[in-house]
Symmetry: C4
Subunit: 281 residues, 4 copies
């Protein structure tokens, strides 16, 4: 770098910095517009993948869908290259979650070029569908999810214990139903009976497998009431966590006028100077 022209290098760095700001931040009007355009393109590209999977639409508009597909692949390839270029640590970006998502959203289209034979049809279908993961690219443009994610993370251990209890419960309830109803009423194996127990406990209730004996319907009624009742547990956990998180955020409100901290939870006005306190977002 010592040999090169420092001014040009600085200018180049400046450009890099500008692009980085454009992609990663969204403070001013222009940067926000860039975000919205990209989100719109991602949603559109996901719709193209979806439309392609509908036989009637694919038959009629194959050429247009093919063209659109390459248009989006080209666009996202350019985006990927720019991101590689401007990232401060290229390798770390490539191995990051969104780096992998960005790569996944262009790779399948390129690979499909090298699989021309009919013998790879299954793989081709998988690749086509994989492009739907582009929808994950959107996640990086949403900064609101923080409180939710924090509340979820804070209660994750309790939720895992809850899910573990539910799995234990459906294993036992499913096995009992396998004994009661048996293969002659559609409960052909324990895994299938456990599947039924999950369908029932979570109140989904397809009805593809349903108890037919009186005893089986009695046990099913018990499973339903249990399922109806224990939904309260995860709800209670998450609610308590969100309420706590909201309240903590509130308790640390600082008066914008006099700087007084740690106001009463119910305070709407600063206790020291009477200034209206900012509302909790």
């Amino acid at each position: 770098m010592a040999g090169s022209d420092p001014t040009q290098s600085e200018e180049k760095l400046d450009l890099k910095e500008k692009i980085r700001r454009l992609i990663f931040h969204s403070d001013n009007h222009g940067e926000k517009l860039f975000d919205i355009v990209l989100i719109f393109l991602i949603v559109l590209s996901v719709h193209v993948v979806m439309m392609e999977s509908v036989p009637a639409i694919r038959a009629r508009h194959e050429a247009m869908l093919y063209a659109l597909e390459w248009f989006f692949t080209g666009l996202f390839t350019i985006e990927y290259i720019i991101r590689l270029y401007v990232s401060l640590n290229t390798l770390r970006y490539m191995r990051s979650f969104f780096g992998v998502v960005d790569l996944l959203s262009i790779l399948p289209t390129y690979i499909s070029l090298f699989l021309p034979g009919a013998q790879y049809l299954m793989l081709l279908r998988a690749l086509r569908v994989l492009r739907v993961f582009r929808v994950l690219k959107m996640a990086q443009y949403i900064g609101e999810a923080n409180l939710l994610i924090r509340a979820m993370r804070a209660s994750s251990r309790k939720i895992i214990v809850f899910i573990f209890s539910v799995v234990t419960l459906v294993t036992i309830l499913g096995s009992i139903m396998y004994l009661i109803e048996g293969p002659e009423h559609g409960f052909t194996s324990i895994p299938k009976s456990v599947y039924w127990a999950i369908v029932t406990l979570t109140t989904v209730g397809y009805g593809d497998v349903a108890p037919e004996t009186a005893l089986g319907q009695g046990v099913a009624a018990f499973v339903m009431i249990i399922g109806y009742g224990i939904i309260a547990v995860p709800t209670g956990i998450v609610t308590a966590e969100i309420t706590l998180a909201s309240r903590e955020a509130r308790a640390q409100v600082t008066c914008s006028d006099c700087g007084a901290k740690s106001h009463d939870l119910s305070a709407s006005y600063c206790a020291r100077c009477g200034n209206r306190l900012g509302v909790l977002k």
Copy 2:
């Protein structure tokens, strides 16, 4: 106005004001009765539209339903004209939400007069059904919805993020199920598979599309448990918001006896004079 008789003009204004009070306020007994009669008429007119759509009832009571339809249309037309007459700003009322609803509840019947041919059957059916929107006329008579709407609005951003996450989730889960089950088990396209994922995640579970392979049922079980668990998130958000809103309302309770404000959250009696504080509504 200067040239006209001021007394008559005042009297006229007075009448206008009286009608306005009758329609828009509901403080005294007579005004409340007017509200109840109107709500009753709206509910009745919506029932007439519904009955008309039942083939067996339409065949037998066509004449009566036709008469009732014109009776309600006439009534609501008179109401609309009066509202136009008494409103302080006619144009603003016409463009307001309830102005449009009021117009929509009479217009279809008049338009249907000019569409006598059998060739407009589809449009006629649409117009007939549109009259059901009369039910929205009721909303202006209910003043209790404020706390609910405020809580919903306060948590709207978080709920949008939540719905966005759900949409992302069902897109990916639906695509995976399309790969696993394929068109031979009813998952004919990605949009249909996403529809299945929504039916399952929201625990609706029609059973019109249901997984048949063991792997598909395993993924379905996973989707159900996820759906069963994440219902906790919107519940937690809204609950935290309502609890906060209730508490804020409480904290600003003013003692009716001595006027002391900002009582402790748990206070049931005024801290200054010992008077029983009003309960939170």
Copy 3:
């Protein structure tokens, strides 16, 4: 009363009072046993009514079920007469909710005696089923429901507004689906489409009526996500109400040692004497 023997009258009053205590209170061991025996008899009699409705069981055990039926009717008749005898205000008891329930639980059996002909079969079935209302007799023995009922009553206005909004929503959504899907896909009338909208919005999802067109499935997906989200509203209302009720009960805890009232919400020990405060039930 002046002419009669005061001692005997007093004794009689005493007996009446004793029976009243036995039936209406449940403080000591004997009175609790009486309650439990009655609850057991009620549950048993409801099961007899249920068993009678199962064709296979009625065919085999008709005589026994008939005998049991008269046994329970006799028992509840005696109970009704005693209640009439001991009640301080006979007429008020007869017109009270539980007075009507008590009469309803014996009357059908007696009426069925006077309706021997086959022409009253339908009515007889109704009378037989009516006896199931005996289950309501149990409600008077449960004193725990107070907090729940208070919370429900406190939030009843908000819940009515919520139910009203849901009814408005399903009316409009059902009408739109009637237009989209039409009679050829099972949406034969607006009332049926509204029924479908309720089945879907409440996440019940029978699947007896399900959208078949792509647009219909799209609207259905929207209805499901709405239904999945707004379940949070009644939950939030009731939760906020219960939390508040629990907290108020707590705030009024009186120290059993020194009598100090209105402790801090978080207090586990009395602020004046350090005594352990009773836990909230």
Copy 4:
């Protein structure tokens, strides 16, 4: 013990103590590994039982499943004997919940040896399925469930009252539907109608029994909206309980620096010394 070598006895006790520590505690790295290995073996053995119930898998891998079954039975037998040996009170362990579960997880395999004839097929199947209860062995390795269990226990009385109300409700609603729809539309008896009411109220909605008359669908719509609304009650109860439990845990936070107790609910920093308070887990 007096006659034996005290050193050896001490050593033996020491060994017993070491094994006890290994099984019952999980403080250091080695003990945690032991737990994880055992959980893994339990999950594996439950999967073997499940696989055995699938006809296609049993037909192909019968020998291997048989061998695995005896491998796990042997292992759990050794574990059971060790637990008997190291437990301080052998009889109490045998009669404890986990003692019974441990015995149940090995007994069925041994009993099946003595039931060779085809006449015991039903019993054999039951024994095979019983082994699924091994999944309960896992519960003793999870120490996180405490807060959940405490919250559930604290609200157990209210939840029982709630379940009792739901049972009363479905009994009455089911009986009414039996009258309205009757045996000709699938509501063949009151128990079956009550089963339908439970399926509907809990929003499971199989669709195996569904109302067909207009009046029946109206009542069904009412049941659904009721079910949709009252789910809020158990949720509210458990949420209020968990919020209270979390807050109590918080209120008793002791400052690790100065030892000050009973901080304000919203406090994030110690009120006496300004030290950051530990977060609530």
